[in-house]
Amino acid sequence: MEEKLLDLLAELCEEDEVKNNLDEDLFESGLMDSLAFAELLFAIEENFGVIIAPSEIQRSDINTANKIIRLVKERMNA
């Protein structure tokens, strides 16, 4: 699951670099913008059946690859 999520992320950010540093701030580094963010939420819903509402989370809850993985895992187990 982690691997699949990282592949998705790399595709959205158009940068394989995200797989190397899982704690990098995706918004600050310019890898992720509000558009990629929307696509990420959709991809998570499509691939893992986890619906995350845009207003439910702060950017700071989901700004690194590790945080995204943790959030999706939490929701899948919930």
């Binding site: 509000s34 558009l35 963010f37 929307a38 696509e39 939420l41 959709f42 619906i51 509402a53 845009p54 207003s55 439910e56």
Partner: protein, 384 residues
């Protein structure tokens, strides 16, 4: 009396904030006191126009039933788009009737704060649909809608954030910090609004208004832009500061907007609670929906359409007059163009970190923003 203007308001405000500070420092709940102070100011402000007062109360009662009934249906029927659409439509209906009325010259459902209160109601409906809100306490919902500091002009708080502070009893140490930064914001806001905006408004009226040569138009754009900033940012700082003293950490609405280096940066700093509301409840949802329905062949096209649509709706929300709609479309198109440029341009990618580029980008963006204010002011209609 009006909110945050005139000696009378401020005398009452400072007197009525003293008991709040005493309660806060003694680690008491400020909940009931917020009710008292909100009721006091609402009666004073709306009292002279009883019809507005009735519309306000009527809308609040209507909205409370609406969100409770919607929550009930949501629990029973799940994520049903049909019911959801009706709930949003009903919440918006009075605002739509009012805005059409203004444009057509009749007055119905209009009351001070109608545009802002709608945002709060719709946020609750959308988050109920999302499943993020599973419980609505009626009284707390009413308190959220009627909290006087942000009732008429923002900032636009979010219900879950508000409720968290509302239920909280601050420790003495926490409250001391709230009180001191609250008073600081309140006084800064008074300075912005009364002194800075007042002087700029005088300059605008006395020296610039009525002249239409290109140089005067540039002057009008700049002076109007700064005047609007000090007026609105001052108002919001007072609202945020007062909220702090009353134990609510109302979100800031401005963060040095004239330092922004591009238009996206600007919208993260100007009227922040409005633009983040639009981002969370319109733009991101439209984008997710577009990806799902494969509405656009490329993501960049999708983004461009999404941005223009988003800002168009923001323009319409300001009012149906031509200059507001033009203002929305103008910002939408600029956002779309900048998005395309930043994604496609190698020149941008090579230079975006360099000092000269940042300086140039700041200067161009400042002028783009000021031209936007010129459109917003409606002053151009005198020229065209």
């Amino acid at each position: 009396m009006s909110f945050f203007s005139g000696y009378e308001f401020f005398i009452y405000l400072f007197v009525l904030l003293i008991p709040a500070a005493v309660l806060g420092m003694r680690e008491k709940s400020l909940k009931w006191y917020r009710w008292v102070i909100s009721a006091f100011f609402i009666i004073r402000v709306y009292g002279p126009t009883p019809i507005q007062f009735l519309y306000l109360l009527g809308y609040v009662v209507f909205a409370t039933y609406l969100v409770k009934i919607y929550l009930f249906l949501r629990t029973k029927h799940g994520r049903n788009k049909y019911i959801y659409g009706h709930a949003v439509f009903l919440a918006l209906l009075p605002l739509a009737v009012y805005k059409i009325g203004v444009a057509e010259g009749f007055s119905l459902f209009g009351f001070l704060g109608i545009s802002y209160i709608c945002f709060r109601v719709i946020q609750v409906i959308i988050e109920t649909y999302d499943g993020v809100i599973c419980e609505i306490r009626e009284l707390q919902f009413v308190e959220f809608l009627l909290f006087f500091t942000s009732l008429s002009s923002g900032p636009i708080d979010r219900s879950r954030r508000f409720n968290e502070d509302d239920d909280k009893i601050w420790t003495r140490k926490e409250y001391t910090e709230l009180l001191s930064s609250g008073l600081y914001k309140l006084i800064l806001g008074i300075f912005y609004k009364v002194v800075c905006s007042g002087v700029l408004y005088y300059v605008l009226q006395t020296y610039i208004d009525g002249h239409y040569t290109p140089l005067y138009l540039v002057g009008y754009a700049y002076v109007y832009g700064f005047c609007l900033f000090f007026d609105f940012a001052g108002y919001c700082a007072m609202a945020v500061g007062t909220s702090y003293v009353l134990g609510i950490r109302m979100p800031d609405n401005f963060n040095k907007p004239f330092l922004s280096v591009d238009i996206k940066d600007f919208w993260n700093r100007w009227h922040i609670t409005l633009s983040s509301w639009f981002r969370d409840f319109i733009f991101t949802r439209f984008m997710i929906d577009s990806v799902r329905k494969k509405r656009f062949s490329s993501r960049l096209t999708g983004a461009a359409v999404g941005l223009i649509l988003n800002m168009f709706i923001m323009g319409v929300w300001h009012g149906l007059e031509g200059h507001y709609i033009a203002y929305g479309l103008y910002h939408g198109c600029i956002l779309a163009l900048v998005e395309i440029y930043q994604k496609k341009s190698g020149f941008y990618k090579r230079n975006r970190q360099k000092k000269w580029y940042v300086a140039g980008s700041w200067f161009i963006n400042l002028n783009v923003v000021m031209f936007g204010f010129l459109i917003f002011s409606g002053y151009l209609s005198n020229v065209l």
